[in-house]
Amino acid sequence: MDYHWNWGVLLQPVATGEPHTYLGWLATGFMNTVALTLCAWLLALVVGSLAGIARTLPSRFARAAGTAYVSLFRNVPLIVQFFVWYFVVPELLPATAGDWIKGLPPYTQFFVVSVLALGVYTGSRVCEQLRAGIEALPKGQRNAGLALGLTLGQTYRHVLLPVAYRTIIPPLTSEFLIISKNSAVASTIGLLELSGQARQLVDYTAQPYESFICVTLGYVVLNFLIIRLMGFVRNRTHVPGLLGQ
């Protein structure tokens, strides 16, 4: 195994003639991964919360809809979902909406599709965490809220959710880490996030080890930042006495 290490290649200008270095490509990739992770995480929290609440409502229809959503998105591989969002969904939409998506600049299109695919998929996981968090609360909480004359919505808003969300912060931290890693799947539809840049760098420089090492470190840094961020959130929100810490 004789491999010629050449870290200097990262500082060379890119071969496409654009005014960047290869390191600049990696930095762009890192920022794209961060942007995709954050946008998709926000979408996942919104979708997952709605579905998670739906699965605990008295209405049988709402529960069935939540169950169907989870079953659909948890039993199909993520890469298949990316491809379906990218190739199939624009065709099935009404012509105007489909044409609007297809008319976007390629980069925007990759990004929007990736946020949708990743966010809706992760939403199904967030949904299960929130449902477990709500179901773990004593039944008396809901009954007491309703007995006090709160509406169902008020009971969720002021009694159930404030505690449920705070107790599921550890599993949500894991989901946040998982979504940052799953964002790499976006490279398969063409988004040049960190993994996409890794492969592009190999194509242009033929220095796979340098490129892969940088990208892997990029993910490690991102993981570290997320753990610190969620640790901060946990400390600010933890329910006194409930988590035993």
Partner: protein
């Protein structure tokens, strides 16, 4: 409106079945090797040796902090060189398949070890003490008392992880290995019906995985009623 052309899918059945066989082989190797290595790691993680604990912790966090796609790319870079250096491989060996199997086996070892470790730690301390009081050594305690109970307690979680592996194998797309999903997309590109092949592939995964999930749920329910809780 869109209609499925079942005839076209039926015509490509051989390619699709070959792909599914690749998918299944990766899944099975990952489960078998992952369980074996994962059990070893879990034993290391719970052993009374700081060095072994640190090794197990380091292994698990290393593999869990890298996206699966990067892991596959890494192993497709490293494994072929290793194999070339170590053995004189016949050209019939599919190097992509071997790389994917190694990557999945090592990754799933990390996931399985976390599950089994939780199983070991959930056992009451008395199990260890009783075994030791009966004169068993550490190996015998693990082999006959601790591991059988830990694995049994964690069976539903282990099975759920197997379903996750089956889905995750579709990511071998990035090293151009012809598994079920990769073949479905190439048939779609060849015949100009990518949309249909994608929907078909998604539906196939969905059917298999939700059937298996249902089985695991039934098993969980059966266990709970037997315990009488």
């Amino acid at each position: 409106m869109f209609e499925m052309d079942w005839h076209a899918i039926f015509q490509s059945r051989e390619l699709l079945l070959t792909g599914m066989w690749v998918t299944l082989r990766i899944t099975l190797v990952a489960i078998a090797c992952g369980l074996a290595l994962g059990t070893l790691l879990a034993v290391c993680a719970t052993a009374r040796s700081a060095a072994l604990n640190a090794f197990a912790r380091g292994y698990v966090s290393l593999f869990r902090s890298i996206p699966l796609i990067m892991l596959l790319l890494w192993f497709f870079l490293i494994v072929p060189q290793f194999l070339k250096a170590l053995f004189d491989l016949p050209p019939t060996v599919d190097i992509r398949l071997v790389s994917a199997m190694v990557a999945f086996a090592l990754l799933e070892a990390a996931f399985f070890s976390e599950i089994i470790r939780a199983g070991i730690q959930s056992l009451p301390k008395g199990q260890w003490q009783a075994a030791q009081a009966l004169g068993m050594g550490s190996y015998q305690t693990l082999r006959y008392v601790v591991l059988p109970q830990a694995l049994k307690a964690m069976l539903p979680v282990l099975l759920t992880q197997c379903i996750v592996i089956f889905q995750d194998t579709s990511l071998v797309y990035v090293i151009a290995l012809g598994d079920f999903f990769r073949r479905a997309t190439s048939i779609g590109e060849r015949d100009g019906n990518l949309m249909q092949m994608l929907l078909f592939a998604g539906a196939t995964y969905w059917l298999i995985c939700s059937a298996l999930t249902l089985l695991v749920d039934l098993m969980k329910r059966g266990r709970r009623s037997r315990v009488g809780a």
